[in-house]
C-alpha cells in the first residue's frame, strides 16, 4: 500500500460512476519524530489527510521507576521522582514526600509548608510555560517559544538558587525541605514574575487573537466532559471541558485552602481552551506564590541560636574532655552547596522527627549524635521504618492529579511505590481526539496534551 495508489484512485475517478476501490494508508508517526516530544509512536490509518483510526504506543522511555523504588530506602527514591515529570520536578518531589509523611503521620513545620507551596507553584509555571511554548512552536510561532523559554530560564535560575540544580533538584525531604530560602529570594522572584507577566502579556498578544493560531487550535481536538471523566482525565485538560476539578481545591493539601486563587475552566474542551486554561493558571500560580511570601512565617525562630547556650547534646563529646573554652564561638565550616541546610534554618524547615528527618549539617559533621542520627537514616537497615500500611496521596501536578500509592511492610524500603501519572489517561484517550480529524491537527492536539515521557512511561 502506498501513498501513490490512494492518490491515483482519487484523481482518476471513474466517469461511469462505478465506485472505485479506496485504500487507506498506514502511517507511523514517531517514535522518533520532531513533534512527538519524548518518544512515542502513533500508528495512524489515513484516508488522504483524514485520520480514520489511530493507536498510541508508549513505553519507549520505561526506566523501571517502580521496580527500582522497591529496592532502595525511602529517601533514595527522591532523585528518581525528579525524573518523572521533568518539567515540574518539584511537584513530584512534594507528592512523594507527602505520601511518605502520610505513612509516618508527620506534620511538617509551617515555614516548610509555605516553601513547598511556593516551589510547587514555581514548578507549575515552568511546566505550563514549556507546554505552551513547545506547542506554539510546533504550530509555527517560534517567537513565542523563545519568549517563554526566556521566562522559564529566569524561573529555573531562581530554582537553582535554592535547590542547587535546575532540573534534578531532589529538594524535598521527608519532614520538610532540604534548605531554607536565601535572604533576598522574594526580590528575585518578584523580578522573575515581572518578567514572566510581561512575557505572558506579549504571548497573549501574539497568540490569543492570532488568526493563524486560532484557526489551528479552535474546535480541534475536542473532548467532551463525559468522555474526559470516563477516561479519568484530570488537570488543565479536564478543566478545559468545564469541570472545575483541581486537587488543590477539592482535597486541599499543604494548606492550599488558605490561599486565594481561582480555578479557570473552559467550555468546549478543545485545544484553544486548553491553551487559555494554562495561560490563566500561570497567573493564578503567581498569585499563590505572592501570597505565600506574605503569609510565610518570618525568621523569628532563628533568634534561638544567637548568643544562647549550645544544647548539651551537641557539646557532649568535646566537653567530656573538658575542652569547653571558647566552645561557643566555634563554627563548623560547610561546603557552599549545603548552604541553607544549616542549623540556623533547620528548625523552620524540618519536622524534627528524629526517626524521619535528617539532622542539621553542623550536627552531622560536628558531633556524634548528629552523625549517628544521619547514619541511622541514611544507611540501609537502620531506622527510618514506617508502620505497616498503605497510603495514597494525590497532588495537583502540571498535567493533573499526580498520585503516589505506597505500601509499607514495616521495613526501611517501600514495599510498593506506584505513581499515577497524570498524562497516562490523557494518552489513552488521545485516539478519541485524533480520529476524524486531519493529520496536521495531530500536532496541535498532541502539543496540548503536554505528554511527558518521564511520567508516562516511568
Amino acid at each position: 500500500m502506498s501513498t501513490l495508489q490512494v492518490e491515483k484512485s482519487e484523481i482518476f475517478a471513474d466517469p461511469s460512476g462505478k465506485e472505485l476501490k479506496r485504500e487507506s494508508m498506514m502511517l507511523n508517526m514517531g517514535p522518533s519524530h520532531p513533534a512527538m516530544h519524548g518518544i512515542i509512536r502513533l500508528i495512524l490509518e489515513l484516508d488522504g489527510e483524514r485520520v480514520l483510526r489511530s493507536e498510541v504506543e508508549i513505553g519507549y522511555l520505561h526506566r523501571a521507576f517502580e521496580k527500582m523504588s522497591e529496592s532502595m530506602g525511602y529517601l533514595q527514591v527522591f532523585p528518581y521522582t525528579d525524573r518523572l515529570n521533568y518539567s515540574s520536578p518539584l511537584i513530584n518531589n512534594a507528592g512523594y514526600a507527602m505520601a511518605v509523611e502520610k505513612l509516618f503521620d508527620i506534620r511538617i513545620p509551617e515555614r516548610a509548608r509555605y516553601i513547598r507551596v511556593l516551589m510547587c507553584e514555581l514548578s507549575r509555571i515552568c511546566d505550563h510555560l514549556t507546554c505552551i511554548a513547545a506547542s506554539a512552536m510546533e504550530l509555527g510561532a517560534f517567537t513565542v517559544f523563545l519568549y517563554m523559554i526566556k521566562a522559564r530560564e529566569n524561573l529555573w535560575n531562581a530554582v537553582e538558587m535554592i535547590t542547587g540544580a535546575r532540573l534534578t533538584i531532589s529538594y524535598m525531604r521527608v519532614g520538610g525541605v532540604k534548605a531554607d530560602l536565601p535572604e533576598d529570594f522574594e526580590k528575585v522572584i518578584r523580578t522573575c514574575f515581572k518578567e514572566t507577566r510581561h512575557v505572558l502579556k506579549e504571548c497573549h498578544g501574539l497568540l490569543t487573537r492570532n488568526r493563524i493560531f486560532v484557526d489551528r487550535v479552535k474546535g480541534v481536538g475536542v473532548i467532551s466532559k463525559e468522555d474526559a471523566l470516563a477516561y479519568g482525565i484530570t488537570g488543565p485538560f479536564l478543566r478545559s471541558t468545564g469541570v472545575d476539578y483541581d486537587v488543590r481545591k477539592d482535597a486541599p493539601y499543604l494548606g492550599y485552602d488558605e490561599f486565594d486563587f481561582e480555578v479557570p475552566v473552559g467550555t468546549t474542551g478543545d485545544n484553544y481552551d486548553r491553551y487559555l486554561v494554562r495561560m490563566e493558571e500561570m497567573e493564578q500560580s503567581m498569585r499563590i506564590v505572592e501570597q505565600a511570601f506574605q503569609a510565610m512565617p518570618g525568621g523569628a525562630l532563628a533568634v534561638n541560636l544567637e548568643g544562647k547556650e549550645i544544647p548539651a547534646a551537641e557539646m557532649v563529646d568535646e566537653a567530656k574532655m573538658g575542652m569547653v573554652e571558647g566552645f561557643q564561638h566555634q563554627f563548623v565550616t560547610l561546603d557552599p552547596t549545603l548552604e541553607g541546610s544549616t542549623k540556623f534554618y533547620f528548625d523552620r524547615i524540618q519536622a524534627g522527627n528524629k526517626s524521619a528527618s535528617l539532622p542539621a549539617k553542623e550536627n552531622t559533621y560536628g558531633n556524634i549524635e548528629g552523625l549517628m542520627q544521619h547514619f541511622k537514616i541514611i544507611m540501609d537497615g537502620h531506622g527510618y521504618e514506617p508502620p505497616k500500611g498503605e497510603v495514597y496521596q494525590a497532588v495537583e501536578g502540571g498535567n493533573g492529579e499526580l498520585g503516589f500509592y505506597l505500601v509499607s511492610d514495616g521495613t526501611g524500603r517501600p514495599y510498593r511505590v506506584r505513581v499515577r501519572p497524570p498524562c497516562f489517561p490523557i494518552m489513552a484517550a488521545l485516539p478519541l481526539m485524533l480520529e476524524g480529524g486531519m493529520l496536521a491537527d495531530i500536532i496541535a492536539t498532541f502539543g496540548s496534551v503536554n505528554m511527558i515521557g518521564g511520567e508516562l512511561d516511568r
Binding site: 513505553g59 477516561y231 469541570v243 498520585g403 514495599y415 506506584r418 494518552m427
Partner: protein
C-alpha cells in the same frame, strides 16, 4: 452515612475486610463480586464514584500474604469529593479478574499495565497486550520473584 458502612450493608458477605489507615478508606472484596460492587459504587447516588483514578496491583510474595496478589482500585467521586480504595485478592494460580473497562474506559490502559507488570489477566478486556514493555519480553517485572538485575536483550522484529 460513611462510604464503607453503605458498602458493607449492601454486600455483607462479599466484603472480606475494611480498614481506614490514615484516613484512606479501603475495602477488600471478593473477586466474583467485583463487577457487581463496582457498578453499585458507580451508580448509587449516595456514593457516586464517577471517576476511576488509579488501578494497579501489589505482589505480596515477600510479605507472605495469601493470596499472593491484590488488584487495587482507587475511586473518586467528583460531586461528593470522597475517595475509596477497593482491593481484590487474587490467587497466583488463577490470576484472572473481570475487566471493568465496560464501566470506566480509563481501566483499559491501566489493566494492560497490570497485565504487563504483574501477569494478571483481565476477563473481557478488549485488547489485553503489553503496554510499557515490548511483545516478546519474558516475564512480568513487578512481580517480586523477578530479579531486579535481570537483563533482557532488547529485540527487534524477529527475522
Amino acid at each position: 452515612m460513611p462510604v464503607l458502612e453503605i458498602l458493607t450493608k449492601q454486600f455483607p458477605e462479599k466484603i472480606i475486610e475494611t480498614h481506614d489507615f490514615r484516613g484512606d478508606e479501603t475495602a477488600l472484596i471478593q473477586k466474583d463480586a467485583l463487577l457487581l460492587i463496582m457498578k453499585f459504587l458507580k451508580t448509587d447516588i449516595r456514593l457516586d464514584f464517577n471517576m476511576l483514578m488509579d488501578l494497579t496491583a501489589v505482589d505480596y510474595l515477600w510479605m507472605g500474604k495469601k493470596p499472593r496478589f491484590e488488584v487495587v482500585y482507587h475511586l473518586y467521586s467528583l460531586a461528593l469529593k470522597h475517595r475509596l480504595r477497593i482491593k481484590v485478592p487474587i490467587e497466583q494460580k488463577d490470576a484472572l479478574v473481570d475487566s471493568i473497562v465496560s464501566l470506566w474506559p480509563a481501566a483499559n490502559w491501566y489493566e494492560r499495565e497490570v497485565w504487563d507488570m504483574f501477569g494478571i489477566r483481565f476477563q473481557n478486556h478488549p485488547d489485553l497486550k503489553r503496554i510499557l514493555l515490548y511483545e516478546g519480553f519474558d516475564g512480568h517485572p513487578l512481580r517480586k520473584d523477578y530479579p531486579i538485575n535481570k537483563r533482557q536483550p532488547l529485540i527487534g522484529p524477529k527475522n
